[in-house]
């Protein structure tokens, strides 16, 4: 029998070891390797905990303020995976700067400290049972990640950091109002004062919280955490921050930070739905924000010139798709969680490729990035494949999750929402494909640096593409089981049925 404190405490060992590596007298490469090692260790710890102590049981620690359940495990695994991929990539990404002496040990230590600190607070968000602690940790992610945007220290990154810091801090302040209102609503359910913010205590009294207060609370929560998740119309910080951060940071922003903000909304969703009489109002709000995000992406993606801003608007679209799936409920929730993994992996690959191509061509301007497939035989095709995955081409897994969301909308008779979703998706499909063809095909544009890659880069591309294809063809039973349990938590019900692991089954 493993104690709860030991289980949950072990999740912080790897990120904290990464933080400590920054204090050791190691060079820039040593700091970056330590980050990759810490993330690999975290992947192993999450997998071990899920197999040994997790599955159907909640684990509590530190006065019930921290806990683990299937929804936490799922997101913890995702965070560890994306951090591992991005940490490995960071070793290649910064290699030229290390050789040129512009990414010396001092800068590397600062980067390593912030990178692993960011990893640790994201882990804390996903382990929080106390919704106050969850809010504090999510706000802490804003503060730490803001400094990561500033890694280059040029005028554009300062501007992006300022917008990110101010907008997200103000946005998350609204979420705190929602959290306070939740504690007020808990009084109606006679929750003991010390437990008024414990998610498990509130979930055990589902339906007994004050419905009117919870309705107002959910609006604040949705606007507050929605700002951090990049849902339109609160998304304006996202294209700037994603485009100005170093590429490994952009990858973790898009691949996990946005998901963690949506995770916070997922925790509130069943509480609000049950206390408001299961009439679907919180779900309807999510559908509205989801559709708005998809349409904003459809408007801005066709006119993008900067390759990283293009990917940032894709993030707005995919956050919208996940919100839409959550809004549909039932099978939609299952598909939304599945889409979370698919988006994270495909967007991580897309940012990796875009970052290396931008360095190769010496610009982020897509008009100057021509014939990438010929110029860079690894990252050029990888970018094209990543865009195909992102726009939902079969047999990549994004197609599967989007197909399930369409099925959920048809099953629920939500045809108007489906029409808007399909229209937005078609616009994004056509315009993103055009951008990808322009960048990857045609006459080769001039480059400023020779194409260069490392064996680990091959491994990264193969791992990401392999995962996207594998999940598109077949989902292993343990993964379906995990998704079903996580969906049931978001739904506040029993496990979702009606989804089989194989393609089109």
């Amino acid at each position: 029998m493993i104690s709860g404190a030991l289980c949950i405490g072990s999740l912080f060992v790897a990120p904290l070891l990464g933080v400590c590596a920054g204090a050791l007298p190691v060079g820039s490469r040593g700091v970056l390797r330590a980050g990759a090692g810490a993330a690999a260790m975290q992947c192993g710890i999450v997998a071990f905990l899920y197999r040994a102590a997790g599955r159907d049981h909640r684990i509590f620690a530190f006065g019930n303020n921290l806990f683990l359940d299937s929804l936490s495990y799922y997101h913890l695994g995702l965070v560890a995976l994306v951090f591992f991929l991005s940490s490995v990539y960071a070793n290649s990404y910064f290699s030229e700067e290390i050789e040129q002496g512009t990414f010396g040990p001092k800068r590397a230590r600062r980067f390593g400290l912030l990178w692993n600190g960011f990893f640790a607070v994201l882990t804390a968000v996903l382990c929080a049972n106390n919704l106050g602690i969850l809010w504090i940790c999510l706000e802490a992610t804003t503060l730490i990640s803001a400094l990561l945007i500033l890694t280059r220290g040029n005028s554009a990154s300062i501007e992006a950091m300022w917008k990110y810091l101010l907008l997200c801090s103000v946005g998350i302040a609204f979420a705190f109002v929602g959290t306070l209102l939740l504690s007020v609503a808990a009084r109606a359910a006679h929750v003991p004062p010390g437990e008024s913010l414990l998610w498990t205590s509130l979930a055990d009294r589902n339906g007994m919280l004050d419905g009117r207060v919870m309705c107002v609370a959910f609006i604040f929560i949705l606007v507050g955490f929605g700002t951090k998740a990049g849902l339109a119309p609160m998304h304006t910080w996202l294209p700037d921050a994603h485009s100005q951060a170093p590429t490994p940071v952009s990858a973790v922003f898009s691949g996990v930070m946005l998901n963690c903000a949506l995770y916070c909304i997922m925790r509130y969703l069943p509480l609000c739905e049950a206390s408001m009489g299961l009439r679907g109002r919180p779900h309807a709000m999510l559908v509205v924000f989801g559709l708005l995000s998809i349409m904003v992406a459809a408007v801005f993606i066709p006119s993008q010139k900067n390759i990283k801003r293009l990917l940032a608007y894709h993030s707005v679209e995919h956050m919208g798709i996940i919100a839409l799936g959550l809004g549909f409920g039932g099978l939609g929730t299952f598909a939304a969680l599945f889409h979370t993994l698919n988006h994270s992996v495909s967007k991580t690959l897309a940012f990796f490729s875009a970052g290396r191509l931008a360095r190769h061509y010496g610009t982020h301007d897509m008009a100057a990035m021509k014939g990438a497939v010929g110029r860079n035989p690894l990252w050029g095709p990888a970018f094209f494949v990543a865009i195909l995955a992102l726009i939902g081409v079969a047999p990549f897994s994004v197609f599967m999750s989007e197909f399930q969301i369409v099925k959920a909308s048809v099953d629920g008779g939500k045809y108007a929402a489906l029409a808007v979703f399909l229209f937005g998706s078609v616009v994004v499909f056509v315009s993103a494909l055009r951008h990808a063809i322009d960048v990857c095909m045609g006459k080769r544009g001039p480059v400023t640096e020779p194409a260069r890659w490392f064996p680990r880069d091959f491994a990264l591309v193969i791992a990401c593409v392999g995962l996207l294809l594998a999940c598109g063809f077949h989902l292993p039973a343990w993964y379906v089981d995990l998704l079903r349990n996580a969906s049931a938590i978001v739904e506040g019900t029993q496990a979702v049925s009606g989804f089989a692991g194989g393609l089109f089954q």
Binding site: I133, T142, S155, E159, L165, L166, L180
Partner: protein, 214 residues
């Protein structure tokens, strides 16, 4: 004025109008500090003599952070950039005062609509919170200097603190202290950004931040 809380509410309402009508950054920081000190007294007033260690720590902690530590950080940042006035606000000062009057009417009308109950024991504090939140957001959006925007954010945080007191919500001390610590670190980092903005753009006016405009 029937209770000490009413006197403090008047002080805070007046301080909000001072924030809306002033262009001098030092004065703005001082007013925000006064708000922090007054708000730190609220937990003592609402507890009506039944002081617990929790009340003492939250009250004094709030006063120390919002009334002393954060203003000192902001004064230090201001000395570094040598900018002392809001030169070209997005919204003029007369219009700002007019907006303040509208905020007051709407906030106290909304507060009056909330019945006094076990869930909302102090509707007037809820009104004050709404007014302060509107003022904070207005300063963040309607002013161009980054320092004034930080003060707007601080006023918004003050509004939330006031709202928390109005609900008499007994969060764990860990949560309340964590929220205050986040605020302190947030303002500290914003101070660092002001330094970087001034170094890069030779100004702390957000009008200069247009590299990323689409």
């Amino acid at each position: 004025m029937r209770t000490p809380a009413d006197a403090f509410i008047i002080v805070l309402v007046v301080s909000n109008f001072s924030l809306l009508g002033s262009s001098r950054l030092r004065a703005l920081i001082r007013i925000a500090a006064v708000q922090g000190l007054v708000l730190g007294l609220f937990p003592f007033i609402t507890q009506a003599g039944a002081f617990s260690a929790h009340t003492l720590i939250i009250g004094f902690g709030g006063m120390l952070l919002k009334g002393v530590a954060i203003p000192l950080l902001l004064f230090r940042a201001l000395r570094g950039v040598e900018v002392y006035r809001e030169e070209k606000p997005h919204v003029g000062y007369t219009m700002s005062i007019a907006a303040g009057i509208v905020f007051t009417v709407v906030a106290f009308w909304a507060g009056a609509a909330i019945p006094k109950s076990a869930l909302f024991p102090s509707p007037s504090l809820v009104s004050l919170s709404i007014f302060m939140a509107a003022t904070g957001l207005f300063l963040t959006i309607g002013r161009a200097e980054t320092m004034t925007q930080i003060i707007g954010y601080l006023v918004l945080e003050n509004a939330i603190y006031c709202f928390g007191v109005s609900l008499s919500s007994s969060q764990s001390m860990l949560v309340e202290m964590g929220a205050l610590l986040d605020l302190l670190v947030g303002v500290f980092i914003m101070g660092i950004v002001i330094y970087h903005i001034n170094r890069e753009f030779d100004s702390i006016n957000t009008e200069e931040l247009e590299v990323l405009k689409e």
